[in-house]
Symmetry: C2
Subunit: 184 residues, 2 copies
């Protein structure tokens, strides 16, 4: 399933801030619209931009980890989750040249990406979208939803991930923070 | 890198036969053209079709296996490799719902996909293209090149793979066999 994230003047999510963490920035936008499935070929307003990714199979999660995740992971769209974040990242050519077992070892055995994220469930809902095979500018688009009261827990989670060995391979990262427009 | 395989009346590869192994067939074609990079938006001739896939990171190959493969694997484009095959396959929803470690175990520990393929190197050159995240009708397009004298070794290789546990998850498969037009 293809998902498009469109930055511009329309969309349910009102942008609070767009922070450039590493590498080139994204243009500003007042709103973000998430469009699931093939996006309609809308008249594009001046300055709008679209990031795309596919919901795809997990590349690193084991059966045991999936069992833990599926127990704790909340769905998107909870009525209390009126805050959101979109974090587009691109990893380096060095990362992509590593074999599967080396990538897995950095991701989990050394960076504990899954194990350390579990502590933030079920507060933070998450969905990953893969853009690399689509020729997109970002390899991954991760979408998060949480209650505004859990924003500091979200900050802690992304801060923890950015300090890992895995993140040494991130050569571009932008963080878009939003609030649901109808409630804020 | 996006690669397009176009079936129609033009292209360097003359089709010998298109065999439907499992599931729905592909329309007939006299020639196959392989186009690397973004395909030009050509006037499409009547009845032509295009399959697309991305050259992407390996999903199952370990560091140890990659070392063996890189020693033995020949490049595409050898002057002696005037025979080719394109095998588009789609795996079932059950396959894609398996966690990474379960897919890896079926692929290599139980089906020996890599270990048993090594015996056919360097005779048979191979390149894998991923279509699933692109929303293509086939999950994988595997392109093979070999000398016509090695065609029976190629038949043995694909026959061996089709007898594995991994192949129980293949719900669509087509085999296109070709010869380089300028030499045949």
């Amino acid at each position: 399933v293809l998902v498009s994230f469109r930055g511009g003047d329309v969309g349910r999510w009102r942008v609070e801030r767009i922070a450039t963490v590493t590498g080139a920035p994204l243009p500003p936008a007042a709103r973000i619209a998430m469009i699931e499935g093939v996006a309609p070929d809308l008249e594009t307003e001046e300055g709008a931009w679209t990031l795309r990714g596919a919901i795809s199979e997990d590349r690193y999660v084991t059966a045991r980890e999936r069992t833990m995740l599926s127990t704790l992971q909340p769905p998107l769209g909870r009525s209390t989750a009126t805050a959101a974040a979109l974090i587009p990242i691109t990893k380096s050519a060095e990362w992509w040249s590593l074999p599967q077992d080396a990538r897995r070892a950095i991701f989990e055995e050394r960076s504990h990406h899954i194990a350390r994220s579990l502590a933030y469930l079920p507060r933070i809902a998450r969905r990953l979208h893969h853009g690399r095979d689509l020729g997109e500018q970002f390899d991954f688009l991760t979408w998060f939803e949480f209650a505004p009261a859990d924003a500091s827990a979200f900050d802690e989670l992304v801060g923890m991930l950015r300090a890992t060995e895995e993140w040494r391979y991130v050569e571009r990262e932008v963080e878009i923070r939003m609030l649901l427009a109808e409630f804020n």
